[in-house]
C-alpha cells in the first residue's frame, strides 16, 4: 500500500519555501504569483492509516505552521493540472529518505520504502515550455525528475535485480582504429600508447580482459589519478620571434637564460624537477609527511600536527553545481579523514572562478549554465555540506573571467589536526578490507576519467552518471566513528573512496600486498548494479579500512553503535595481485605491478610563445580621475566584498576562530587570511591564506606563479603568520595540456613555483592539478580557461597576541608602506578598468621580500603593529581604502617618489595603482613609529601618512595636489554592494 502525505504551509504562498521558489522562478522569467510549495512524503508498506494520520500531524508536519493530509498514493488532488512535482531520480541519493526511515522507526513503523517530493502549485496549468523552464529552475535534470499534473502512483519505482554475466572485451584482435573506437565507446579516456600497452599485456596472457579489468586500468591510469602530464616527460621550447609593438607584449624572461632548464629542454618529470624539488632541497624538519599521503602534514606542536589538502572539482560543478561543489568538499574532507590514520577536519577553504555574473544570457554558450546559476548552486552546495559537517569555512576567494563561463573552477580545501603518532599507516598482509559509510549506488560512475576530458556542449547529457550527490550527515557519522576507532587502534590503514571508488581506494592500499575483494558483499542502495558498477561507483561518504582480523568485531560493533554501516568485503591477501570475484565467479585478476606500473610514459611537447597579444575588455572608466578609478576597482567583481557568500558559511563552529573573514566595527573589512586556535584551550594559532590572480597568466605564467606565492605569503604574514614556519600547496587548473602552447605555460608556472618556494623557504607539501579545462562550443571552438594557479599557505602564527587584523584602529597612528612600487601594470586591475595596455608584469625580489616579512613578524611579536593589509589588486589605493572602510576611520596619505626605487621617477598613478609584489601597509601607534622603523633598516619602508578620526580617505599627489577625497561610507557601499546587486538583493545594514 502506498500513502501520500501532503504537508501544506498554513501561510500558503507566503511561506518562506513558497516565496523562495517564487523568487527562483521569477529569476527564470516565469509567472510565479500565488505559488504554493508543499512537501509530499510517499510511504509504502503495511501501515495502519490511523497511526499514519497521527504521525503525519505530529511528526511529519510542523503543527505550528503546517497542516497534514494523508491520501492514498493514487488519490487525485483537487489542484490537478496546476501541479508540478520535482523529486530525485530513482537511485539518486536523497538524504531526506534516510532521516524519514529513522524517524518512522522511532515511532514504531517500518515501511518498505519512502520518497520525498517537492510539489509546486501554480495559479494556472503550465504549458510544456513553462514546465521545462520551471524544471530547470527548481531542479536539475541530471539528478531530478519532474512530473506535471497530479502524481498518481500505486507503488514506488524499484530497480531490477542483477543477473551475473561476465563481460569480456576483445582487445587482442583490434587495429589502432579499433582501439580508438573502443576507447571512445567505453569512455576510457586513454591515449593510444596506453591502449597498446594494455593490448600487449593481454596478448601475452593469451586472453581478453574483462570489462572491469579494462575500466580499472583506465581509471588508475587517468590524468586525475596518476597526473601523467605533471609527472611525465616534457620537451619544452621557447619562441621569442615577436617584436614588441603596440599590439604585442614585450618578450619576457627565458627559462634557459635563467639556467633553470637543461639546454635541450627535456624534462624527465615536471613535478619532481620543480615543485617537489623545492621541498626536497629545503628539507624542513617540520615537514612530517609530504606528497605521499592524501594531504601534506606539518608539525603543529610537540604532540600534534596539522595537514592540509586542496582539491579541484571543476567538471562535476559545471554540470550540477550544487551536487558537484558539495561532493567536491565532501571529497577533500575525506582526504583529511584518510590522511595517516585519520585527522580531525578543523577548517575548510573555498576558491571559485566563474564567468561574469552580468553575462548576457544569449552569450552563454549552449550546454553551459548562466554564471549566476552556477555560482548560486556552488555556494549552496558548499554551504550545505560544510555547515552540516560542522567545519568552519573562514578562508577563500572568488574570481571572474568570461573564459570560466563554460568551465567554472571549484577548489575546496580542508585542514585537519592529527596526533603525531598517527601519521604513518601501512596495510599488512592478512588485514581485512572494510568499507564503511554510505551505500554504493550507480552515482558518479566514470568520474575519474570524465574529469580528464574536455567539457562539450553535450556534456550535460552524456556524463550525467558522472555526477555524485552527497549526504554530509553520513560523512559526519563516519567521521565520528573513524576518529574513535583510530584512538582505539582498531585499524592499520585507511583511505577515502574518491574518484574511481573502491577501485582506486583498494587498488592504492593494496599496491604492495595485493588484494582480493568479494564484490557482491558491498552494500548497495538498490538492486541491479553489476560487479563493474559496484567496483567503480563513486558513491559518496565511503572510507576503506585495513583491519587486523582480531580487531574486526570491535570495529564493526563501534560503527554499528552509531548506525554507520561497515562491511568486510575482502582481504589484503599478499598475492601481489588484484583479484575480484562476484559470488564466487572471478571477474578480475591482474598483477598490482601492471595496474600501477604498466602505464607507458609519453613525452609531451611544450612551447612558450612569448609576446602573444592579450585581449583586454572594454574600459569602464574613461577619465584619469584617481578617485573614479579607485571606485571602479573597489567595486569590480574580483575585488568587491564576497560578504553575500561568506555570511552563508559557518566560520565560528568548533569555537576556534581568532581572525575571521570580516573584521572591524562594521564587520565588513575583508581579512587577508584567517587564523584559528585548533586546540580547545590552546594558545597557538595557525594562519591560512591563499593567493590567486587570474589576469597574470595571460602575461607570463612564470611571473604569475611567483606573484601568487607572494600574495599568499603576504596575506599570511600581515595576519601574523610566521614566514619561517609556513608551507604551501599548489593547485593548477589549466587548458588542455596535450596542446603544446598550454603545456608551455604550465612548465613556466612550475618553474616559477620552484624559484619562489625555494627562495622563501616555504616548501610545497601537497598539490593537485586539473589539466583539461576547456569548453567546446557548438561551433567547435575550444575555449581554454585562463591559466589558473591557486597557492594556499598554512603555518603557525608568531603568537596569539601577534595576530593582526586589517581595520584601522586609532586616530593619530602612522601609516607605513613596506616594499617598493614599480611601474608594473600588465595584468593589473588598473589596466582592466582603464583599458590602458601595459607590458610589465609584477616581478618578485624574493630575498628583499623575505627580509621584509621577517621584520614585520618581529614587529608583530613586539606588539608594534595595530593593523596591516596586503597591497594587491588595485594597489596602494585599494588597500588603504579597504583599511579605511573597515576601521570606520580616516587616512591622510601623501605620495612620495621614494616609494619607488631610486631613479625611477614614478607617476602618481603608478604609486596609487601599480600592483608590484611584496608590499604591505602597516598602521603603527605614533609612539612606536621609531621602534618599528628601526626593524626595517636597509629595507624599503616609507611613512605615507596617518590615521584620522574623520572617516574619509584623502590622498595627496607628489606635487601636493588632492587626488582622492572619499568618505568611508561611500567606499563601504561601493565595496559591499556588487554581489548583493548581482543576485537582486538589498544591501543589509551593518552594526556600525
Amino acid at each position: 500500500m502506498l500513502f501520500k502525505v501532503r504537508l501544506t504551509p498554513k501561510l500558503k504562498d507566503q511561506s518562506p519555501e513558497s516565496l523562495r521558489a517564487a523568487r527562483t522562478l521569477k529569476e527564470a522569467g516565469l509567472h510565479s504569483n500565488g505559488l504554493v510549495h508543499r512537501r509530499l512524503i510517499l510511504i509504502e508498506g503495511k501501515v495502519d492509516p490511523g497511526e499514519l494520520e497521527r504521525i503525519s500531524r505530529e511528526l511529519l508536519a510542523d503543527p505550528v505552521i503546517e497542516t497534514a493530509q494523508v491520501l492514498k498514493g493514487d488519490e487525485p488532488e483537487p489542484e490537478g493540472e496546476c501541479l508540478l512535482h520535482v523529486s530525485r531520480r530513482t537511485g539518486v541519493m536523497d538524504p531526506i529518505e534516510q532521516s524519514l526511515m529513522r524517524a518512522l522507526f522511532d515511532c514504531g513503523i517500518q515501511p518498505q520504502g519512502v520518497k520525498s517530493v517537492d510539489q509546486y502549485e501554480f495559479a494556472a496549468p503550465l504549458t510544456p515550455a513553462e514546465v521545462a523552464k520551471a524544471y530547470t529552475a527548481l531542479g536539475n535534470s541530471v539528478v531530478d525528475e519532474a512530473h506535471r499534473g497530479p502524481l498518481l502512483l500505486k507503488s514506488l519505482p524499484k530497480g531490477k535485480p542483477y543477473r551475473f554475466k561476465l563481460q569480456q572485451v576483445d582487445v587482442r584482435g583490434l587495429t589502432e582504429e579499433g582501439l580508438k573506437k573502443l576507447n571512445a565507446g567505453m569512455r576510457l579516456s586513454m591515449n593510444l600508447p596506453e591502449l597498446q600497452a594494455v593490448q600487449a599485456f593481454y596478448r601475452e596472457l593469451q586472453r581478453d580482459p574483462s570489462d572491469v579489468e579494462l575500466l580499472t586500468l583506465a581509471q588508475t591510469w587517468s590524468e586525475h589519478c596518476k597526473h601523467k602530464t605533471l609527472a611525465g616527460k616534457v620537451h619544452y621550447r621557447e619562441h621569442r620571434a615577436h617584436e614588441s609593438g603596440p599590439d604585442s607584449d614585450v618578450v619576457h624572461e627565458s627559462l634557459f637564460d635563467m639556467k633553470l632548464l637543461p639546454l635541450d629542454g627535456r624534462i624527465g618529470n615536471l613535478l619532481k624537477d620543480t615543485i617537489k624539488r623545492a621541498t626536497e632541497e629545503l628539507n624542513k624538519p617540520w615537514c612530517l609527511s609530504v606528497f605521499v599521503d592524501n594531504a601534506g602534514v606539518i608539525e603543529f606542536d610537540e604532540s600534534e600536527a596539522v595537514c592540509f589538502k586542496v582539491e579541484t572539482h571543476n567538471h562535476p560543478s559545471a554540470i550540477e553545481p550544487y551536487g558537484g561543489a558539495g561532493t567536491g568538499l565532501g571529497g577533500v574532507i575525506r582526504d583529511i579523514l584518510g590522511t595517516g590514520l585519520g585527522a580531525r577536519p578543523i577548517l575548510n577553504t573555498n576558491v571559485f572562478c566563474f564567468g561574469p555574473l552580468d553575462a548576457d544570457p544569449r552569450q552563454v554558450p549552449k550546454g553551459a549554465m548562466h554564471p549566476r546559476k552556477v555560482m548560486r548552486g556552488v555556494v549552496n552546495g558548499v554551504r550545505d555540506y560544510g555547515n552540516r559537517m560542522g567545519i568552519p569555512t573562514p578562508n577563500g576567494s572568488i574570481h571572474f573571467d568570461p573564459r570560466y563561463t563554460g568551465n567554472p573552477l571549484v577548489y575546496a580545501g580542508c585542514v585537519g589536526i592529527i596526533p603525531r603518532d598517527k601519521i604513518q599507516k601501512q596495510a599488512r598482509q592478512g588485514d581485512i578490507i572494510v568499507v564503511a559509510g554510505g551505500r554504493t549506488g550507480r552515482d558518479g560512475i566514470g568520474g575519474a576519467t570524465f574529469s580528464s576530458v574536455e567539457l562539450t556542449s553535450e556534456s550535460e547529457t552524456i556524463s550525467a552518471g558522472a555526477v555524485q550527490i552527497g549526504n554530509a550527515i553520513t560523512e559526519q557519522m563516519v567521521q565520528e566513528c573513524l576518529l574513535q576507532a583510530r584512538d582505539r587502534g582498531l585499524y592499520r590503514a585507511v583511505t577515502d573512496c574518491g574518484a574511481g571508488g573502491l577501485s582506486s581506494a583498494v587498488g592504492e592500499m593494496g599496491e604492495d600486498t595485493g588484494a582480493s575483494v568479494e564484490l557482491h558483499k558491498v552494500p548497495v542502495k538498490y538492486e541491479g548494479l553489476s560487479y563493474a558498477e559496484v567496483w567503480l561507483s563513486e558513491a559518496q561518504e565511503r572510507m576503506v579500512f585495513a583491519v587486523p582480523p582480531h580487531k574486526l568485531e570491535e570495529l564493526l560493533d563501534l560503527f554499528r553503535s552509531e548506525d554507520v554501516e561497515a562491511t568486510a568485503i575482502g582481504t589484503f591477501d599478499g598475492s601481489g595481485r588484484l583479484k575480484l570475484t562476484w559470488d564466487g565467479h572471478e571477474v578480475c585478476d591482474m598483477p598490482m605491478s601492471f595496474v600501477h606500473g604498466g602505464m607507458p610514459k609519453v613525452e609531451r611537447e611544450a612551447v612558450w610563445n612569448s609576446g602573444v597579444p592579450r585581449g583586454l575588455p572594454d574600459p569602464i572608466v574613461k577619465s584619469e580621475d584617481p578617485g573614479e578609478i579607485l571606485l571602479a576597482i573597489l567595486g569590480s567583481p574580483n575585488v568587491c566584498s564576497k560578504e553575500w557568500v561568506v555570511r552563508q558559511y559557518d566560520h565560528e563552529v568548533q569555537a576556534m576562530s581568532a581572525v575571521k573573514p570580516f573584521t572591524g566595527p562594521g564587520r565588513d573589512g575583508p581579512s587577508d587570511a584567517c587564523a584559528i586556535v585548533p586546540r580547545l584551550g590552546g594558545d597557538q594559532a595557525i594562519v591560512v591564506s591563499n593567493g590567486l590572480n587570474t589576469r597574470l597568466g595571460d602575461v607570463d605564467p612564470f611571473w604569475m606563479a611567483q606573484s601568487n606565492i607572494d600574495e599568499a605569503l603576504r596575506n599570511y604574514v600581515v595576519t601574523g603568520g610566521d614566514i619561517d614556519h609556513c608551507a604551501i600547496l599548489d593547485n593548477f587548473s589549466w587548458g588542455n595540456c596535450n596542446k603544446p602552447d598550454r603545456l608551455g605555460g604550465l612548465v613556466r608556472a612550475c618553474y616559477g613555483c620552484y624559484v619562489a618556494a625555494k627562495a622563501f623557504g616555504t616548501p610545497f607539501i601537497s598539490g593537485k592539478d586539473s589539466l583539461n579545462n576547456e569548453f567546446m562550443t557548438e561551433a567547435g571552438v575550444s575555449v581554454a580557461i585562463p591559466p589558473t594557479l591557486l597557492i594556499s599557505a598554512i603555518g603557525k602564527a608568531v603568537s596569539l597576541k601577534g595576530l593582526t587584523t586589517m581595520d584601522l584602529k586609532q586616530p593619530g597612528s602612522k601609516l607605513f608602506l613596506l616594499g617598493f612600487t614599480r611601474d608594473e601594470f600588465a595584468g593589473s586591475h588598473h589596466e582592466m578598468v582603464t583599458g590602458r595596455r601595459a607590458t610589465e608584469p609584477p616581478r618578485l625580489d624574493t630575498s628583499m621580500a623575505l627580509r621584509l616579512y621577517r621584520a614585520l613578524n618581529e614587529a608583530q611579536r613586539q606588539g608594534l603593529v595595530r593593523s596591516a593589509h596586503d597591497c594587491a589588486e588595485g594597489g596602494l589605493a585599494v588597500a588603504v581604502a579597504e583599511m579605511v572602510l573597515a576601521g570606520r576611520l580616516g587616512a591622510k596619505v601623501r605620495l612620495d617618489p621614494r616609494l619607488a626605487p631610486s631613479g625611477a621617477e614614478p607617476h602618481d598613478a603608478t604609486l596609487l595603482f601599480s600592483e608590484s609584489n611584496s608590499r604591505i601597509i602597516a598602521e603603527v601607534a605614533a609612539q612606536d613609529a621609531l621602534a618599528f622603523w628601526n626593524l626595517f633598516k636597509g629595507l624599503p619602508i616609507q611613512e605615507i601618512g596617518e590615521v584620522t578620526r574623520e572617516p574619509r580617505l584623502l590622498v595627496f599627489g607628489m606635487k601636493g595636489d588632492k587626488l582622492i577625497d572619499q568618505d568611508a561610507q561611500t567606499l563601504a557601499k561601493v565595496f559591499r554592494e556588487p554581489l548583493y546587486k548581482a543576485f537582486g538583493e538589498e544591501l543589509p545594514r551593518t552594526p556600525a
Binding site: V64, P95, R383, G390, Q654, L680, K809, R989
Partner: protein
Amino acid sequence: MKPKALVLRAAGTNCERETAWTLKQAGAEATILHVNQLIHAPSRLEEFQLVVIPGGFSYGDDLGSGVVFANQLRTRLKSAIERYIEDGNLMLGICNGFQVLLKAGLLTGRDVFDDPPRATLTWNLSGRYGDRWVDLRIVSERTPFVSGRKIVSYPVAHAEGRFVAPPAVLDELESDNQIVFQYVDGAGRPTQDFPFNPNGSERAIAGICSKSGQVLGLMPHPERNVRHFHHPEWTRLSKREHGDGYELFVNAVKHASHLAQC
C-alpha cells in the same frame, strides 16, 4: 563535588566538543554521549544535573530542524526526561539543541512535555543560512542560566531560527517571563530589523525558558564567545579574560552543583 553535565549528541550534532570543553572550564565534569547509548540505558540520565543538547544539524534537519532528534526524546526517552526534570535538574539547548527542545515540547508547556508543541523555529526570513554576531538583551531572570539583565554578544549561525507562535502563546510566554533573550539593535532596543534580528523572530525572541526555568533554549551560540579572541573586534578592544558567553555556563554549573549536593 563537581556537578555532572551530559552533552547529548546524535547523528549530525557538531558542537559537542567545544560545548563540553566550556562546561569543564566552568567547573563541571562533562560527558559526551550518543543518544543511542542513552536510549539503550535511559536511567543513565539520573547521573547528571545538567544536560546540554549542542548545535549542529541532527539527522540533517531533513524533516525540519531538530525534528527527528526531538521525536526520539518524545518516543524513546519520555519518562526518563520527565523524572529528570521533576527532580529539578537543568537542560540547555543551543541552536539545533533549542530546535530539538522546542519541537520536543520541553519549553512551552505546563507539563514537562507540551503535546503538541505550541511554538516553532522555522526558516529565517532571509530564506537562508546566515552567520553573524548579534547583540542580545537578557530580559528575564526566571532561569538560573542567567544573572543580570544585561546586553551580551554571541554569534548566530543557522537557517531555521525564526521563532514563530500564535499571538496568545507569545503573550503567555511574555507574561510568564519565559522570554529570556531578545535580539536588540545598536541602541539596545528589541528589534525586527535585519540583520540585528537575524531571522525575523517574532517579538525578537532569541531564547526562551520553560515555566520552571529549568530548561533553556537559545539560537545564538554562547560557547563561541568564551575566550578573549573569540569576539570579532578583540584586536581593537582591551583584553578581557572571557567572552560574554562564559557566564551562562558558570551560572548553570553553579546551580547544578547545588543540585549535586542535595
